[in-house]
């Protein structure tokens, strides 16, 4: 597709396959297509393969198989294409003995040419203007993240890759960053490819997302489509166990943390049948209503994990 910003074709990364060691597959046959001017979320638990995929896109790691294209070019052969990309990969890291400003100078000159005016604007935008002359070793994690985002945007890139951009930030900072990221895509027409462990943040920020688990993409699509794909109903009943036994043969019954509440995945046409069956079993029904699933519920259900195990 001509307007594809990132395309990955069967992208695979195996580690430790040399010298007779058993290889570990970190990323397996990932096919992605990210188009422009949107915020694209990339979700997965710890070790799912998110950062490895990003590193292959940025030519920091070499794929064992397949390839990644950025603006139609392979960064391995044409690294210049990555000058259109700003990135923050797995935690912002800097030269600790230099000030924030000197770090920006070094990074700016390493990428192309340091633009003092743009750097000043960005430093103000990320709220680091008072600390920018301080050595980075004195920065908190949140401050480093802010500096990392400023560094990623130094060359006014068309594509911005942000790996856990709000990690270490306070709630106010997270909200500010969410607005900033959405503005980048929707006001300035940039493409933002981001990973985050804060699923509610992703839900509020991303237009489209891919979910990666054990190195493989298990779901991909527009956020609204993914969340409305399943027709879930929340059921308030007198006996949860008997309800499960009565329904689980035919429908998918998902337990919740609340006593007496169950989620049932079923088409709308089946609702009368569900109610009829429960009445026949002598189970009291207090309410049954469509349930709007959050991304977190959807994600946990998809990767088959319990809450609390997310990175």
């Amino acid at each position: 597709m001509s307007d594809a910003v990132i395309v990955t074709e069967n992208l695979t990364k195996r580690f430790g396959s040399r010298w007779g060691r058993e290889s570990k597959v970190a990323v397996q046959g990932v096919n992605l297509q990210v188009t422009g001017a949107q915020v694209y979320g990339f979700l997965g638990v710890n070790g799912a393969g998110k950062s490895t995929t990003i590193r292959m896109i940025l030519d920091l790691m070499h794929p064992s198989q397949g390839r990644a294209l950025v603006y139609g070019k392979d960064p391995r052969r044409q690294p210049d294409v990555l000058r259109r990309v700003g990135s923050l990969v797995e935690g912002a890291t800097f030269y600790p003995y230099l000030s924030g400003w000197d770090n920006l100078r070094v990074i700016g000159n390493s990428q192309a040419q340091f633009n003092q005016q743009r750097a000043t604007e960005l430093v103000e935008r990320v709220g680091l203007d008072k600390a920018i002359k301080v050595k980075v070793r004195a920065y908190s994690t949140g401050m480093k993240q802010r500096l990392g985002i400023a560094a990623a945007l130094l060359q006014d890139p068309d594509l911005i890759i942000l790996d856990e951009p709000t990690s270490g930030m306070d709630p106010a900072g997270i909200r500010e960053m969410r607005r900033f990221i959405r503005d980048l895509a929707h006001e300035q027409g940039k493409t933002v490819f981001l990973t985050s462990h804060l699923l509610s943040e992703v839900q509020q920020t991303c237009d489209r997302l891919a979910i990666i688990n054990a190195g493989q993409i298990i779901q991909e699509g527009a956020l609204t489509d993914l969340l409305s794909q399943q027709s879930l109903y929340e059921l308030d009943v007198s006996d949860v166990e008997r309800t499960r036994n009565a329904l689980q043969e035919r429908w998918s019954v998902i337990p919740t943390e609340n006593d007496g509440l169950l989620h049932i995945n079923a088409p709308r046409a089946d609702i009368p049948h569900i109610i009829k069956r429960l009445v026949e079993q002598g189970i009291d029904i207090y309410s049954m209503a469509p349930y709007r699933q959050s991304l977190e519920d959807y994600f946990l259900e998809l990767v088959g994990l319990e809450e609390g195990k997310l990175s």
Binding site: M61, T93, F94, Y95, A112
Partner: protein, 287 residues
Amino acid sequence: MMALFRAEWRKIAGNRLLISCLLWVWPFLGCALTGLLTLIFLLNTDARANYINEPIPWTDAALLPWQLLNNIFGRLLLLAFAITVFAGEYEYRTWKTVIPGNRRAQLLLVKYLATGGFVIRFLAIMMVLLLVSIGFMNAIFGASYPPQLTIDSFLHGVQDVVLNATLTFTAALIVTTLAILVSMWTRSILFGLVAGMVISIIESFGIPSLLFIASELLKIDEILDLVIFFPTFNTDNLSSWINSNQPLIYFDATPKVPLLASVLILTVWVVGLGWLSMFVFKRQDIQ
């Protein structure tokens, strides 16, 4: 490329601890040496009289800094500097910020140039300080500062400095490349320093000793000749040719290696190690 070089220069210059401990130490040593000599000549009249009869020529003072890297102490200091510069990128995890958008070979080349540039710069500062301080010391004690400054003596002195500086730069390149390879392997400043120093000491002392032992055990004298293929022997040999116009005698039986042969062997080392470091770096996954 210039912007990349500026970035590299700023990175090194901004690491004040590194610069103070491993580069300013050269000019400091130069001044300390002159200060020590001055003190000795002030306290001991015989030593002063001897010195006035045979003062240090300015040509020797100018050469001293450039000959430092031809001994193990100088090499270890340079190695520590180069390893901190290279392994620092791994330890601070900053490669991931710098690499995207750049050709890795270019990044490595710029690092070579900046590292080499800093070493040359500080040795040049040391040379100027030595020239001035020894001249000052000679003036205090009423000693001359030979040879008399003429166009011929100046050009001859400059030629000696350039030759020694070139040799120093070559030795620096070999040590730096060694440092790069060690840094790529260890990805840590501390482990890089330990591994680099062990390798450097083995190359300087261990290999001649091992060759000697092997030749004694196997009763094959020719094994000793293999020493002529190693960098330290050839930098020492070139230094001997440049400064004494004669080949280096390592062991009695070791063949006398002509100047051009040493140049060729060192070129092979520089190109070979440089290529190897580029090859490894290009293929390396950055965490």
